[in-house]
Amino acid sequence: MSNFITEITPNRPVYTDNDPQGDFMTLNLGPTHPATHGVFQNVLQMDGERIVSGVSTIGYIHRAFEKIAEHRPFYQITTLTDRMNYCSSPINNMGWHMTVEKLLGVEMPKRVDYLRVIVMELSRITDHLICNGILGVDTGAFTGFLYLMEEREHIYEIFEEICGARLTTNIGRIGGFERDFNDIAFAKINKFLEKFPPILKEFEALFNRNRIFIERTSGVGAVDPETALNYSWSGPILRATGVDYDVRVNEPYSSYQDFDFEIPVGTKGDVYDRFILRNEEMWQSLRIIEQAMEKLKKEPKGIFHADVPEFYLPPKEQVYNNMEALIYHFKIVMGEVDTPKTEVYHAVEGGNGELGFYLVNDGGRTPYRLHFRRPSFINYQMYAPMSRGMLLSDAIINMSSLNVIAGELDA
């Protein structure tokens, strides 16, 4: 099994200087590979089946989000944030909207917060469903994946009812949502809350105490908490090592402090811990959604955005009939609204960890500088040092359990 190495190992080509007799083989776990979930490359130096060293190359899907963001007004950047972590786009959207609302000093009504919480927790479930399903596929168990993809279809139907799109949702607006959740959406959410738990239980029954799965994943890629913190890990993989850092609890946003939920924390930080932890987080997300649906019943109906006409587009009927609404519409679209010339950093708990938005604003139509603190990028840098001494198949499972999403890695 692998011995985790805690020394500082540079992520640079080492294979040319420690192999004078040419004993080691170079294996290109290339950008196009069925087992790497996204386009990133690892050039591995192998001693038989064991990895001696590796170099990661990324950037194969670098789409220059930060540069584009300097040329787009605030309301158009939401579509960019969709495409970062595309397995859980609504979390990115909500995180961006909350950053701008923090900048503008907008106070959100409770109902909007609870609706946002429902959407974010549903997308957290989709992210974990993909990660655990693919982890099953990588260990050879294809069945679980097919059942979980069907559940993702149900969540897609809920998103479609709310915003019209399945995957890259562009959900919500700065100041709330573009339309209220209709009764069909609430019915679909309730149906999901009923139908999903048995499927998740069945999935857990297939994997959690499965002898083969435990033998494959237990002890692989074990990480101690100090090293994980040193490498700035966050999210489920950090919590699997034993550090209970969750942005939802440390710096509650969108009224998360009103909810009663637990943060599962692992002990060894290996692949098995991460798998179990993501399952547990899905159960906690279901709990949060149930509580949110209960709380929504007590809130006054019909509020789906904050009352900020300077930043929230007025409805079209009013724009065509009402002079004020027309002026606000014009000012918002043309970017003539006064925004504070300052900088803000806001973090949300994404599917993979702390997703941060650092926004430097100079009062113009577009941000002066927008930087995304992407958890996949920062989590992935430990991959090559971590895979030294591992068997190749263990390294593959390790990579799937890190849940690196290529869009978020390269931005």
């Binding site: 500082i8 540079p10 992520n11 640079r12 990324i58 950037g59 670098h62 220059a64 930060e66 540069k67 584009i68 300097e70 040329h71 923090k102 900048l103 090293t227 913190l229 040193n230 490498y231 700035s232 890990w233 550090v243 850092y245 440390n250 710096e251 300052t342 900088e343 803000v344 950093y345 973090a347 702390e354 941060g356 650092y358 430097v360 002066y368 500088r369 930087h371 603190r373 990028f377 920062i378 992935y380 840098q381 430990m382 390269d410 931005a411």
Partner: protein, 167 residues
């Protein structure tokens, strides 16, 4: 919110680094300081290792480009103290003609790729970095794309007629 206040951090820093950082501001409650490339290493080491402040989590390293300023490139460090639940932002402004700053990889291994990304986009040389090469862009790129003078669009594209785009 947090167990120690921003004022307390400023007081501790004033004691240990007198005159070496500029007037701190608190946009949205996040303490922000500016310092110089000479002091940054000592300041980060102090912030990380001090038993009370213990900013042991490096959230992010990034940079901003202000072409009108004399020291145009600003390197921005975001640190987080998990035990005290407080964040801090440290900025260092360096000139474009000599964009050098000591690396933070000895303090945090996580700074490795963050600094490579900042180098890739802005051309900031981190002295002492074990492997400073481009990470996201193609390796043979000679310019630094996030600087303000670099255009967003593909320069070799011939089919976008300016007429249709109102230019």
């Amino acid at each position: 919110m947090g167990k120690i206040s921003n004022q307390h951090i400023i007081d501790q820093l004033t004691v240990n680094f007198p005159e070496q950082f500029s007037a701190p501001t608190e946009p949205f409650g996040l303490l922000t300081l500016e310092t110089t490339a000479v002091t940054i290493n000592a300041l980060l080491t102090y912030l990380k290792n001090d038993k009370e402040l213990s900013f042991n989590y490096l959230t992010d390293i990034t940079a901003v480009h202000y072409p009108e300023q004399e020291n145009a490139l600003g390197v921005v460090y975001h640190l987080h103290s998990l035990t005290n639940n407080v964040r801090i932002r440290v900025k260092v402004f360096i000139p474009v003609s000599n964009p050098t700053i000591p690396t933070a990889t000895e303090l945090w291994n996580g700074a490795n790729w963050m600094e490579r990304e900042t180098f890739d986009f802005y051309g900031i040389q981190f002295i002492g970095h074990p492997d400073l090469r481009r990470i996201l862009n193609v390796d043979d790129m000679t310019v630094f794309p996030m600087r303000k003078e670099f255009a967003l669009e593909d320069p070799n594209r011939v089919d976008k007629k300016d007429f249709f785009f109102g230019r």
